[in-house]
């Protein structure tokens, strides 16, 4: 196991998260589940970025990926909030909670 550095563990985990999320986006029906699935994808991506910060065996963590993650999280949160608002509005207007009736 010594060949596997810490960041590789993180990276593997991030790939698993990303794939899980991606599968969820395609397979889930309920709006909320889909939105959560995109969040899981995002979590995977951010985890990978954070893990790269440490990889180069620098004295200190590379700040650039951290900056990217913070920006990314802000963007992802606002997108998710927007999606939730839309889903709630659709539910209020039509009572639907998935895409089944949409052509």
């Amino acid at each position: 196991m010594n060949a596997m550095e810490t960041y590789q563990i993180y990276l593997t985990a991030s790939a698993v998260l990303f794939t899980t999320g991606l599968a969820g986006v395609f397979m889930a029906r309920h709006f909320f589940r889909r939105i959560v699935a995109t969040k899981i994808m995002g979590a995977g991506v951010f985890l990978s970025l954070v893990s790269f910060a440490e990889r180069d065996a620098l004295e200190f963590a590379d700040p650039v990926p951290h900056a990217m993650v913070i920006t990314g999280i802000v963007v992802a949160v606002s997108a998710a909030a927007f999606a939730l608002a839309l889903a709630r509005r659709i539910h209020q207007l039509t009572g639907e909670h998935d895409f089944t009736t949409d052509s």
Partner: protein, 509 residues
């Protein structure tokens, strides 16, 4: 590549629309319109001046805050970006005036309709950011800005179908950008830089690069609605306010295509193979045929136009196989067709942007006049609304690719590149596409010539709406006239004209 002089213009291209976008929020509906219109005019002026400066200097750069890469952010206004910014400005100003007139004349609009202005100006800033950015993370931010404002615009009408389509669009957009960002993370992890110029020098073949390539390509393809990831586009583009439909299908999908083209030509060449190009070309050919066929079978005008976008975007994908050299082909030989293929990409983008926005704007006129956009709404259009019918005719001709329109020039160059490169098998798809496009365009025109029943409503339409549609149709038809100048401007800088040599990357002949 970075030997362009430094200038303030690239920064203004992003800053001006953002400033106005934030400014409009402080006004009530009427003030929003005027400030939004002022913002559009200002952005158009800045675009015109920036392009003029770029033509004079060959290109411009700007270091935000004076920091140089890899730490700072570089905005690069090269000829390719300048042409795309010009396209955005021309479409944008026409749609802005249309929107102003449209939003004022319609009295059954939802309360939030005046949010069009801040959202649209944000979208504009995001698009300009996409065209100017020279690093992967900036591109991500720009993509997100564009994606969220586009969905915001898409749900403006507040009706359930629009909300449904908007949510679906948003989910695709988030998925696509997360996929893109994962690719960015992988590239950063492997090469430690985000700057496109630095990255293209550093990138090496290998599993990481391939994986990043696949993730980013799929993500961008989903955002551009490239076949087979196109499913979200027709409902999203077909159910909106007309100015919004025009903006989304003319500009938004082009932004991610632009990034895809840049990445393939400048960064990923080392990992690309001839087969990868063929694969993406097959997606394009399938899109052309499938989208056109779907368009032929639609009953509502806006859905015909929306499905036609799927098909027209397919032509853009067919450029990729022509840029990637087959094993053993000399770069010098390939200069015969790579330049044509690049010209085809640019001209297809331009002519489609103008033609498609014109068609959506014209469809908006028809909906106002007749109250709906079913087939009956088109009857006798030639006699009732000759200007709109003429706009549809011109835009349709350009879309079909009949001479001597802009669309014709794009298809000429595409076919020429296909035949000259020996990849003649794309020719039947191009032809079938033109043939089917003629089918739905003339289906519209046929109805427009047919006599109407007297009970067809014909409510008054502000003159400005029809003029905006006609202006864009004329632009889409006549962009062939300055082609000589446009191409020689584009050719002055990479990546335009370069071939992608598998294993080596983009190489200028």
């Amino acid at each position: 590549m970075t030997d362009f002089p430094t200038s303030i213009w690239p920064a203004l291209l992003v800053a001006v629309p953002i400033t106005f976008a934030l400014g409009t929020v402080f006004f009530a509906a009427a003030g929003r319109m005027w400030s939004g219109l002022a913002g559009s005019v200002a952005t158009t002026l800045v675009s015109a001046l920036a392009i003029a400066a770029a033509v004079r200097e060959g290109g411009l750069i700007h270091h935000l805050g004076g920091w140089e890469p890899p730490l700072g952010i570089l905005l690069r206004l090269d000829p390719l970006a300048a042409v795309f910014i010009g396209m955005t400005a021309l479409t944008g100003i026409a749609v802005s005036f249309y929107a102003a007139s449209y939003l004022r004349s319609q009295d059954d609009l939802p309360r939030g309709a005046s949010l069009f202005w801040p959202l649209w100006l944000m979208l504009w800033a995001g698009l300009n950011g996409m065209f100017l950015s020279n690093d992967l993370f900036n591109l991500f931010v720009a993509i997100e800005v564009v994606g969220i404002s586009a969905v915001g615009l898409a749900v403006l009408s507040g009706k359930p179908p629009a909300l449904m389509a908007g949510l679906r669009y948003l989910l695709v957009a988030i998925t696509g950008s997360m996929s893109y960002l994962f690719g960015v993370a992988l590239l950063f992890g492997a090469y430690g830089t985000l700057d496109l110029t630095l990255l293209s020098a550093a990138v090496e073949p290998g599993a990481t690069t391939v994986f990043a390539l696949v993730l980013m390509t799929l993500g961008l393809m989903a955002k551009s609605a490239f076949f087979p990831l196109h499913f979200w586009l027709p409902p999203a583009h077909g159910s909106e306010l007309p100015p919004v439909s025009a903006l989304l299908s003319a500009l938004v999908v082009k932004g991610s295509f632009y990034i895809l083209l840049r990445l393939w030509a400048e960064v990923f060449g080392v990992s690309l193979t001839f087969a990868a190009g063929q694969l993406i070309g097959v997606c394009g050919a399938a899109a052309v045929i499938w989208g056109s066929w779907q368009a032929l079978n639609q009953d509502r005008l806006k859905l015909i136009i929306a499905h036609s976008s799927v098909a027209q975007l397919g032509y853009l994908l067919m450029v990729f196989p022509l840029l990637i050299l087959a094993p053993g082909t000399a770069v010098a030989v390939a200069s015969d067709w790579t330049s044509s293929a690049w010209t085809a990409a640019v001209y297809q983008t331009l002519s489609h942007a103008f033609a498609k926005s014109s068609l959506f704007l014209a469809a908006g006129v028809i909906v106002i006049a007749a109250g709906h956009d079913c087939r009956e709404s088109l009857l006798d259009l030639v006699a009732r609304r000759p200007m709109t019918a003429f706009a549809i005719g011109l835009a349709g001709i350009s879309l079909t690719g009949l001479p001597p329109s802009g669309g014709f020039f794009a298809k000429w160059m595409l076919l020429k590149a296909a035949i000259a490169s020996g990849q003649w098998w794309w020719a039947p798809a191009v032809l079938a596409g033109s043939f089917l496009t003629a089918g739905y365009v003339f289906m519209i025109l046929r109805l427009a010539f047919a006599p109407g029943n007297s009970d067809t409503e014909n409510r008054p339409v502000p003159r400005g709406l029809e003029s905006a549609a006609l202006l864009l149709a004329v632009a889409s038809f006549f962009i062939i006239v300055p082609a000589e100048a446009v191409i020689s401007f584009l050719e002055s800088s990479a990546p335009f004209g370069s071939a992608i040599v598998p294993g080596e990357g983009g190489v200028l002949p």
